[in-house]
């Protein structure tokens, strides 16, 4: 069995998750601070890829990155780099599709963050950067990890936009999901089943991980109403 699709899928998912991690947190942090109207509009724009059919996302990406389009042409002429129909094209697709998951979970975590902690840090003379990395991120750790894992899972399972922008070339742009479709289309049911099982296994592990993280997040903390034993 040729394991290239697994390798390619993992590589694409890992790179897009790494990109989304920073972009998602950055967007969540700044959008949470904006005035309500701007926030509402931006929120819709940033969440759209989650609800749009992946083919629509693929269409937009092709309009932007295709060899005859603005960005695609510039890359081709200036950097001599194709942006479509190569293995890394799928990164654009999976990053755009999975981005809302990271953004929304991070924003949820930031919004439930107790802002008085940030105020306390500022009145104690600490910079906003210090507060972000040393207080806010550790406090929102669970949510951010959950968002990262979910985005990774979504990026790994990306099919629609990937098929449009990267196509299916065995040994080059093939991912698990495009391989399953290709195998089934050509009547290779047995091989297709194998890849389905691989995919099921990965997704199950990922979801288990998310559940465990959420359970740890909700685990009861030691009550603050402990007896005032240490007072004397």
């Amino acid at each position: 069995m040729d394991w290239y699709p697994l390798f390619n899928s993992l590589r694409i998912a890992a790179i897009s998750t790494a990109v989304i991690f920073f972009l998602g947190i950055f967007a969540a942090y700044y959008v949470a601070k904006l005035p309500r109207l701007v926030k509402g509009v931006l929120d819709v724009v940033l969440t759209l890829p989650l609800v749009l059919p992946p083919t629509v996302v693929g269409y937009f990406l092709l309009r932007l990155l295709g060899p005859k389009r603005v960005l695609g042409m510039w890359f081709l002429e200036v950097l001599d780099t194709r942006l479509t129909m190569v293995w890394y094209s799928a990164i654009f697709a999976s990053a755009v599709v999975a981005f809302p998951l990271m953004y929304r979970t991070a924003r949820g975590a930031f919004e439930s963050f107790d802002t008085t902690l940030a105020y306390a840090g500022r009145t104690l003379g600490k910079s906003n950067t210090w507060i972000f990395w040393r207080v806010m991120m550790p406090c929102c750790k669970q949510g951010i990890i959950a968002g990262t894992v979910l985005s990774f899972a979504r990026a790994l399972g990306e099919y629609g936009a990937t098929a449009m922008i990267a196509g299916y070339t065995p040994g080059r742009t093939a991912t698990i999901s495009t391989t399953v479709y290709q195998l089934w289309r050509t009547g290779n049911d047995e091989e297709a089943m194998k890849w389905v099982l691989v995919n099921l296994a990965i997704s199950t592990v990922v979801l288990l991980a998310v559940n465990m993280l959420e359970r740890r997040d909700r685990a009861p903390r030691r009550s603050a109403a402990a007896p005032e034993g240490g007072s004397a």
Partner: protein, 343 residues
């Protein structure tokens, strides 16, 4: 000396406060919830920005809308004790306190000194959630004092504690505040806390501050309706001046003798439950009322009475007994009837 004179509009809420808090003493800000107490503290700390006005601390301008001065919270050196203490949950007691220490040199010594001073020995490696409410408050205060603030803002510091623990922590806090030396602003809705801790108090009502008065005066002779309610006077009624020169307490349908100067802006009168006393029927100004209920208190009893209208509270010393259903005559000494301005 902390001097504050600011205005800020938030939706329909209008904050308009002006007061000063001298160094080396605790100044109280007393107000019901939602009156703008926390917002005032946030403006002083630099977390919220007033629309206009001026805040100075020991002569240094922290905020001045006319001069366009607005120091960041980091540069104001104003310590803020939050209602929930705002300890960092991801850090131990030690780490939390160390956050406040500004000088790198002597960090270890300062930390150990504070741990000892705040009786936190043995808890250095614990996380805030593993501490009792009282210990959490000590850690928060130690962390603030570690940052060497020039003024302290205390936002309802006892509201998160069990009532049994409150008095004990009040005494402890009073002692520490005496050592502090700078201006301390103490915000609360509890008259007991003001009474125990503050030398002077400023009533804050619906976003407006009243002139500061000595604490003793607030309880003895409140000047406004809001102050009278916050001071815990039990009997308050709108009033009407009668041609005879007496006043009618409209809530109770009785007339009372008038003491003091009747001004245009006087709208209510206040009468302490303890100032009301049983009287003979023929006594001038006596009125009758029926005892509805009797509540035993730590010392004596509190009786709920039905005068012609509404409800009146009467506090009786130990040894004086009344029974529900009993009709009795009462009188209010004219000096006990307090005339109140609206606001």
């Amino acid at each position: 000396m902390l001097e504050v004179d600011i205005r800020k509009k938030l939706g329909h809420f209008q904050l308009d406060v002006a007061f000063s808090a001298p160094a080396d003493q605790v100044t109280g800000i007393l107000g019901a919830s939602g009156c703008g107490k926390s917002l005032t503290l946030k403006c002083i700390a630099g977390i919220e920005r007033p629309d206009e006005g001026r805040i100075t601390l020991d002569g240094q301008v922290l905020f001045d809308s006319a001069q366009r001065v607005d120091l960041t919270p980091q540069r104001r050196q104003v310590g803020y004790l939050f209602q929930n203490y705002a300890l960092f949950p991801n850090m131990t007691v030690e780490q939390n306190i160390a956050v406040g220490i500004r000088d790198r040199r002597g960090r270890r010594e300062t930390l150990e000194r504070l741990i000892r001073a705040f009786r936190l020995e043995g808890n250095q490696k614990k996380y805030p959630r593993q501490l009792s409410g009282g210990q959490q408050q000590r850690v928060a205060l130690a962390r603030i004092l570690a940052s060497r603030p020039r003024a302290l803002l205390l936002d309802e510091p006892f509201s998160a504690l069990d009532s049994g623990l409150r008095r004990q922590m009040e005494l402890e806090l009073a002692e520490r505040l005496e050592e502090f030396g700078g201006a301390v602003l103490f915000v609360t809705h509890s008259r007991e806390e003001v009474c125990h801790l503050c030398r002077e108090v400023c009533v804050l009502h619906q976003g407006r501050s009243h002139p500061k008065v000595p604490t003793e005066e607030l309880f003895r002779a409140p000047a406004t309706l809001a102050a009278c309610q916050l001071a815990g006077w039990e009997n308050i009624s709108p009033l009407r001046v009668l041609p005879s020169g007496e006043v009618e307490a409209e809530a109770w349908g009785i007339t009372l003798p008038l003491a003091g100067q009747m001004g245009e802006d006087i709208t209510h009168l206040g009468l302490k439950a303890a100032a009301l006393r049983p009287a003979e029927p023929e006594e001038p100004g006596a009125f009758s009322a029926r005892v509805e209920r009797v509540f035993p208190e730590e010392r004596g009893t509190l009786a709920v009475l039905s005068p012609p209208r509404g409800k009146l509270y009467l506090r009786l010393p130990p040894g004086v007994e009344v029974a529900p259903g009993q009709e009795m005559f009462l009188a209010a000494p004219s000096e006990a009837v307090r005339l109140l301005r609206r606001g």
